[in-house]
């Protein structure tokens, strides 16, 4: 048992050191506003490396412009390895040892929910950037949590608008077998049938996330002979699905409506095999030439020598939102920051955005368009910006969806 005693003593020494070190750090950077950022960097690098790059860019811009009322902002990044329990521990570390003023980040929905609940319990602000789950702001929404990214509901609603215009009546769905996929399918079915009572859903497939058996899934969908398909798979599952579907002719004479597929994260790996004429939500980064977006694109390309992904926009705008909020409050008191976040308006690279007071969801939208092949790679055409504000349920429905509304 020698090892046990030694290990424990070492640990206590280390922990003690942390406790004593913290005040010293605080003294050294008395003025800086500290943001604690937790994300699944090691498990989702494709999205999160561009995200963190843009975050750093935005932070540098804020600080170069004199910071927030003269105070610099700085960020402590933490990797939760995709595990909610580790995210909760790191949230505790950031709040208690590192004395950050607010928490931010999140990619996976369950990790985001765990941190949101922790923030609620400890009454600290949490600005969730990416987790898409509707539960984050609705069924389990709380006073201290705000979410930037357009939710599963909003993106499904954007696609329903397009899907309802199609002649197709027989629909099939394919979605990864977890909450995001299930809610996307549920909303899509519900909203589409409301808009088009003549629509029927003839097949559904729920492959395990990251482990799609694409051949069997494609064959099972084809056997139901639908007129149109609603796809929610993404990343590696999407690639495998597209390859098998194209070879087996699943997409011929069928409309496909697909969530997130227009995002460069998922379109780019498909190369010249990117599907054509799918109706998708996404981000045609090379074609958006508004002054705000062009400035962002150029700054990002200059700083990182690469093109922006959607993750970059999410990271950039999270900092932008936090900085705008901080400029409105005097200091970093949590309740004041929460009040400032409610109804906060700011100019994003996509357009004006508001964090709704009613459910703490931002109105940042997404681009809806068709996929096309240009110069041997997939991109979007005929796209338009769908403002998130137009794709949220009426207020009385939201109040029902968000029982713990404050």
């Amino acid at each position: 048992m020698t090892g046990r005693a030694i290990a424990r003593r070492h640990l206590l020494a280390g922990a003690g050191l942390g406790a004593f070190a913290a005040p010293a750090i605080l003294r050294a950077q008395e003025e800086a506003i500290r943001i604690g950022e937790i994300n699944s960097y090691t498990t989702q690098p494709a999205f999160l490396i561009p995200y963190r790059n843009a975050w750093i860019l935005a932070q540098e811009q804020v600080n170069a412009a004199g910071g927030i009322n003269g105070r610099r902002i700085e960020t402590l990044f933490r990797d939760d390895a995709g595990r909610p329990e580790d995210a909760v521990r790191l949230a505790g570390e950031l709040l208690r040892s590192e004395r950050v003023h607010l928490l931010a980040g999140g990619f996976l929905s369950h990790v985001g929910l765990a941190v949101a609940d922790f923030a609620n319990q400890h009454r600290r602000l949490y600005v969730a950037s990416e987790p898409l789950s509707d539960a984050l702001v609705w069924s389990r929404g709380n006073r201290y949590t705000f979410r930037l990214r357009a939710s599963t509901y909003m993106q499904s609603a954007m696609l329903v608008e397009e899907a309802a215009k199609l002649p197709a009546r027989r629909w099939a769905t394919v979605a990864p077998n977890y909450e995001y996929g299930q809610s996307a399918v549920r909303w899509f079915k519900e909203l589409l049938q409301r808009a088009r009572p003549d629509v029927r859903f003839v097949a559904e497939q729920f492959p395990a996330l990251g482990r799609i058996d694409a051949g069997a899934t494609v064959q099972a969908l084809a056997a139901a002979n639908p007129e149109a398909i609603f796809n929610v798979t993404f990343a590696a599952d999407l690639t495998n699905f597209v390859r098998q579907g194209a070879t087996r002719g699943l997409f011929e004479r069928r409309q496909v409506v697909s969530l997130l597929t227009g995002e460069p994260e998922y379109l780019e790996p498909l190369g010249d095999e990117a599907p054509e004429n799918w109706i998708v939500t996404g981000y045609p980064w090379e074609q958006i030439d508004t002054p705000e977006h062009s400035a962002f694109r150029e700054a990002y390309q200059r700083r990182w020598n690469t093109n922006p992904y959607l993750g970059s926009v999410v990271g950039y705008e999270t900092v932008n939102a936090i900085a705008t909020m901080l400029r409105r409050v005097n200091g970093t008191e949590t309740e004041a920051m929460v009040e400032a976040m409610r109804g906060l308006r700011f100019q994003s690279v996509f357009g004006p955005v508001e964090f709704r007071a009613i459910d703490h969801q931002s109105t940042m939208g997404a681009y809806v368009g068709r996929t096309v092949l240009r110069d041997g790679r997939g991109t979007m055409a005929d796209w338009r910006y769908a403002d998130g504000a137009n794709y949220l349920p009426p207020d009385e429905v939201v109040r029902q969806l968000r029982p713990a509304a404050t």
Binding site: L12, H110, A220
Partner: protein
Amino acid sequence: MAENLLLQALSGLASASSLFLVAAGLTVIFGVTRIVNFAHGSLYMLGAYLAWTLVTALPRGPLGFWGGVLGAALLVGLIGVLVEVLLLRRIYRAPELFQLLATFGVVLIVQDLALLVWGPQDLLGPRAPGLRGSVEILGLRFPLYDLFLIAVGPAVLGLLLLLFHRTRWGTLVRAATQDREMVGALGVNQRLLFTSVFFLGACLAGLGGALQLPRESVNLHMDLAIIVEAFVVVVVGGLGSLVGAFLAALLIGELHAFGILVFPRITLVLVFLVMAVVLVLRPHGLLGRPPEAPPAGAGGAEPPLRPAPPALRRLGAAALAAAVLLPPFADAYALSVLTEMAIFVLFAASLHFIMGPGGMASFGHAAYFGLGAYAAALLAKWAAAPMAAGLLLAPFAAGLFGLLFGWFCVRLSGVYAAMLTLAFAQIAWSVAFQWVEVTGGDNGILGVWPDAWAADPLAYYYLTLAFCLGATLLLRRVLHAPFGYALRAQRDSPLRAEALGVDAFQVRWLAFSLAALAAGIAGGFFAYAKGSVFPTALSIPRSVDALLMVLLGGVRTLSGPIVGAIAFTGLQEQLMRLVELWRLALGAVIVALVLFFPQGLAGAARAAYERRHGPAGA
């Protein structure tokens, strides 16, 4: 309709072939070296990445493509040799399953290296020249490449069977599978044999990965996505049996292809349901044979347990005093880490209870940890019960399921038993994951926070310490009681134990349930420490963590799991915060520890003590 079913069957065959290629290498390696090669999935992933690099670098055309695929397989074979010579060769004599720890270190290292070399984005390889399109079968289109894959599976199986039955090398390998010692005694160079077997197995993994290039994108999640399924195929087929692995792959491929027609949501759990059914009906898989000698007999009886020597007692008392007296001076975050450590000490100790003295490894111990956590959280959510009630219910719920699952599991032995525990754990996990109305699905249960009297981190730490350390010491006490003697007796020699009147089944069953109960206590405290419960609490990574803690500390010492839990939790906590490439660092540390302390940390400490003072206790 009929043509659709035929195509569904063909799709199933294609997946079965892909699965078989990976599983074949795993079963060959296990058959001879008895190594549970957790890094097999990493070799598969490396095969795919290397094939991508070679195929895109070589000139386009059939020669470039197939040359790239074969080149990648050979390169992965060489990487396998490297791993065997530098790492595994040095620890063949370590306790059973210890190599799992080493290969897990390799998994972590490969994950970060692959990210560094190939970047974060998914890579799409070119399609196979000549096999790009599809053929019409009964008026429906079927990919040519999938037809090719359907043929590759049986072809590889045939070649392997020829290799094993028609060459001298193959005969030696089969002999080594039967009796390693005897083959060595007959003058065969075992080292060379093992290295060559590892080369073959790694080649097959690499080939399996490389052949996925025209079907799937190459990505950083391939390793863990395939490894568990490959294990299931190997175990369902019967360890070491190639034909068995082939049949198992067919069974799983076809059941999957047709299963999703009826139950689209069965994808998460199907392979584990198949494995549970097969193992309950056939304890050694489809074509596996019961081992000739009792499994534990291979390494000889383990040294008996003795009461702790005075020096160890003094150290233990000092550590306990530190754990009680120092925390008031620690900050809130340090307290939360200490609380977590106390929980994991009990979790690891409960696994060690059945794994060390009980002689039954479990790959699914997180089931009971998670069931405890869910019991506490569900009671809080649905009955708004106070914390104490949840903490009380947790061990009972876990213990009950321990009784239920244990009844099936303890009949089996070795890796089969371990895989059956995994099957049950995955079934429990998929229920927690899919029963959204009750468990909240993967969004979990939130708001499980301690009652006001225990809300202070220090108070909650003391509460956790009291119960978790208390339960750990109780488990330790049980091992020194007559029950513990019976448990160790049935592990070391089932026959003699039976002759002495020990009902081996009953002893194992009770021990399993007791371990489940203890894990449930840890789970309950975990739920309230984190404030939320997710299916990750009973997922495979959580089970693997427990295994790593026990192996790191040393399976053959009673203090091993305690040391291992503290070391592993502490290491991971520090590295995750301080190092960006923490997986690389953690993997390297694990590999180093494995090489320097093949008996585990506590085992090494005991060996050092015994060198000075003579035989000591645990």
